[in-house]
């Protein structure tokens, strides 16, 4: 079509802030708070107050889905179960574990000998037992992707990281390039696929260099640079770029499984050493702090502790009046407090000075409709949501929205469209049931 709308736009990356210093390992916080929630499902604690736990011990699980298990990320004593701030913007129950700094490992964590003989089922079971979820931000249990009945040809490792500010995948890969390739190989075997494609942004030449050095040992791994546009890291976009195929709801329809690069690195540890998902990379960045850094930290670490490690807030910025974004600036949530704990979906916390503006009404300029990668009319959806018109929301295909946040980004009136569309989708799903 001649007048086809442009898919995505280039936006200011601001990644240099966090790229200056390499990945910092911050593995021994004094206290961790393991959130008892995964993908808005409440988990049942498996430990009591006063118990001594070891690293890797199962501390909570969900009744029906076996993969929703959480492990202790430090060893020590369970102090209490109390409410903490979570990246979802709500307060959730969490298990408080006081670190005894002895780093006792659970008996299950040991070197696996027969790595090369594992079958597909065993590899998927490892994924399940490790409580591995997508570390890109959605927190989708990885093993469900691999239990598909479809024939999988390609496993795509998503290292695109198209959101501004975040560099956690980038630095995690530079730290463990070999682990990434090993993890990707295990994923390929778990999916019975023939090849692995690693998608990354074309300007990240360092990733290309690092991975090319190792390419002799991993001939089945292909590299696929993508353009510097947002949302290039979107699953549908990557699948289309790499394979040329499109799909409706799950990539498996196109014979593809997409996993985040950090997930692959954690999976390599899970296969080789049986270490479950207990730590993840996180970028602490933004203009509001002195020395932005990316950390590799245990799940349950307080973000305020990591901010201190970054040299604290810039002069003149009151922590209570800073703006916190949990996740990327385009899709993340605004949080009002730095007293937040690290969970499996949190890839970044961005601290910015507080900025407010009063905006005029929606002008109806249609710029949001121009940039929408799934061809919706976001402002109409917002209006339909404000009227609580479920029928109209369905008619406008609100559920197709992938919440990239571009509509809010381009809006000349700074209307918070994306947020309203998100609420509209919730309303539609409730109404549809």
């Amino acid at each position: 079509m001649i007048f086809h709308k442009a898919k995505g736009i280039q936006i200011d990356g601001k990644k240099e802030l966090c790229k200056k210093s390499p990945l910092v390992e911050y593995l021994n916080p004094d206290t961790v708070y393991i959130p008892l929630v995964r993908r808005s499902l409440k988990l049942e604690p498996q430990v009591k107050v006063g118990d001594l736990v070891k690293i890797g011990q199962v501390v909570a699980k969900f009744k029906t889905y076996a993969s929703f298990i959480t492990h202790a990320s430090v060893s020590g004593e369970v102090k209490s179960i109390k409410k903490v701030w979570h990246s979802s913007g709500k307060m959730v129950d969490a298990i408080e574990i006081e670190n005894d700094h002895k780093n006792t490992l659970d008996e299950s964590i040991k070197e696996r000998k027969n790595v090369n003989e594992l079958t597909r089922e065993e590899l998927i079971d490892i994924m399940m037992d490790a409580g591995l979820t997508g570390l890109g931000g959605a927190g989708f249990p990885s093993y469900i992707k691999y239990q598909t009945k479809e024939k999988i040809d390609t496993v795509i490792i998503n290292a695109v990281e198209c959101e501004p500010y975040i560099t956690c995948d980038y630095q995690f890969i530079l730290k463990y390039p070999e682990k990434l390739l090993r993890g990707a190989t295990y994923m390929m075997r778990a999916a019975d696929a023939d090849e692995v494609v690693i998608a990354y942004k074309a300007y990240n030449k360092k990733i290309e260099e690092e991975l090319n050095q190792l390419s002799d040992q991993y001939p089945h791994v292909k590299l696929s640079p993508v353009k510097d546009i947002y949302p290039a890291g979107w699953e549908k976009y990557i699948v289309e770029q790499v394979t040329g195929k499109s799909y409706k709801s799950l990539p498996a329809e196109a014979g593809v499984i997409v996993n985040n690069s950090a997930t692959a690195i954690v999976y390599a540890d899970a296969v080789e050493k049986n270490i479950p998902l207990i730590s993840r990379p996180i970028s602490i960045t933004g203009e509001g702090i002195n020395d932005p850094k990316t950390f590799f930290a245990p799940i349950g670490t307080k973000v305020s502790e990591l901010i201190e490690q970054c040299g604290g807030y810039v002069d003149g910025l009151d922590p209570m009046q800073a703006n916190y974004i949990a996740g990327g600036p385009m899709t993340g949530r605004a949080i009002f407090i730095d007293d937040l704990v690290l969970d499996d979906t949190l890839g970044a916390v961005i601290i910015k000075p507080f900025v407010t503006w009063d905006y005029p009404e929606c002008l109806g300029c249609g710029r949001c409709a121009d940039v929408c990668p799934v061809y919706l009319t976001p402002t109409e959806i917002k209006k339909a949501f404000e009227r609580k018109d479920v029928k109209l929301l369905g008619y406008l295909d609100a559920n197709k929205c992938m919440q990239c946040g571009l509509c809010s980004y381009v809006c000349p009136s700074h209307v918070e469209i994306s947020e309203a569309v998100g609420k509209g989708i919730d309303l539609l799903r409730k109404g549809a049931k």
Partner: protein, 313 residues
């Protein structure tokens, strides 16, 4: 977002756009004062005061704040009226336009029709003798009593105005429509600054050219010269400054192309077949009414699929 804390408070782009747009309207007003005398400032003042009063009362009743956007409709009304217009007609046009075109719908951003066009249309139909058969002023001829370029072109006789006069505004016409070189330069600047969407003026003017050229080719007695027909009347002003109003035009980019073509269709139709000489304001009102329909029909084209139920829910 109405937090109390203000570290920095930058201007949002849409406010900047409004200021640029209002400034360009003011430039056109000042240019017209050189052509038609300082009486145009009296017209503008009456329009601004009456329009501002309506908005102020509306804001007080609704307990909202007076938005900067109140300045635009009175200025557009001023620029679309003849330079000899009686001041009370200006007040009627502005009050009617702002009240029935904007305030009753709930204010800025919620109106269906362009408020300025509503006002001008109301006085055009109510007092045709003062608008369409007004006493026109020729910038360089005293006590002028001839036809405007638009009337002359539509009448089908000899066209005596030179192209240079048309471009530089040395012709009779409405206050803001004759300084065409200024309209084109400012209009293109608005498109480049992305204050207005390029699709509407481009498709509007392009389609007028195409439709008139087709008509001129088939029925040379009925249709005027296609190039000249773009440079007469309020077409250029309407295309760059009135039709581009984002509130009353379609949201979808494809929809805006259709909108431009529709505007051209009705303009050409009314100019050449109806009793009224100028079709621009009628075309804009008609297409304003159709704009939501265009959006809806484009939304319908998209294929529908089922709500994707997530596995974990």
């Amino acid at each position: 977002m109405s937090q109390e804390m203000h570290l920095t408070s930058p201007n949002v782009p849409s406010k900047r756009n409004l200021l640029i747009f209002s400034a360009s309207l003011l430039i056109l007003l000042i240019a017209s004062a050189f052509l038609y005398g300082i009486y145009v400032f009296a017209v503008a003042l009456v329009a601004l005061v009456s329009g501002g009063l309506v908005e102020l009362i509306f804001a007080k009743v609704r307990k909202t704040e007076l938005d900067i956007s109140w300045i635009v409709p009175p200025l557009v009304v001023t620029l679309m009226l003849p330079p000899t217009i009686k001041l009370w007609v200006v007040a009627v046009a502005t009050v009617f336009g702002v009240f029935f075109g904007k305030s009753v719908f709930g204010g800025f951003g919620k109106n269906i029709f362009n408020p300025a066009v509503v006002g001008v249309l109301f006085v055009t139909i109510s007092f045709p003798s003062m608008i369409t058969a007004a006493e026109w002023i020729h910038p360089s001829i005293d006590s002028f009593s001839g036809a405007t370029p638009l009337n002359m072109l539509n009448a089908g006789g000899d066209f005596t105005y030179s192209f240079g006069d048309l471009i530089f505004g040395n012709v009779p016409g409405a206050i803001g429509e004759t300084f065409r070189i200024g309209i084109i330069i400012l209009g293109v600047a608005l498109l480049i600054l992305k204050v207005a969407d390029w699709r509407i003026p481009v498709f509007y003017l392009g389609s007028v050219l195409v439709f008139t050229a087709l008509g001129y080719w088939i029925l040379p007695d009925v249709f005027p010269d296609p190039i000249l027909s773009i440079f007469v009347g309020g077409l250029l002003f309407g295309a760059f400054f009135v039709a581009t109003d984002p509130v009353s035009s379609p949201l979808d980019s494809k929809g805006r192309m259709i909108y431009g073509i529709g505007l051209a269709f009705f303009t050409v139709l009314i100019r050449n077949f109806a009793t009224f000489q100028e079709g621009v304001i009628f075309a804009i009102i008609i297409m304003n009414a159709i704009a939501p329909l265009i959006d809806d029909s484009l939304n319908k084209e998209e294929t529908k699929d089922e709500v994707v139920e997530e596995v974990a829910q």
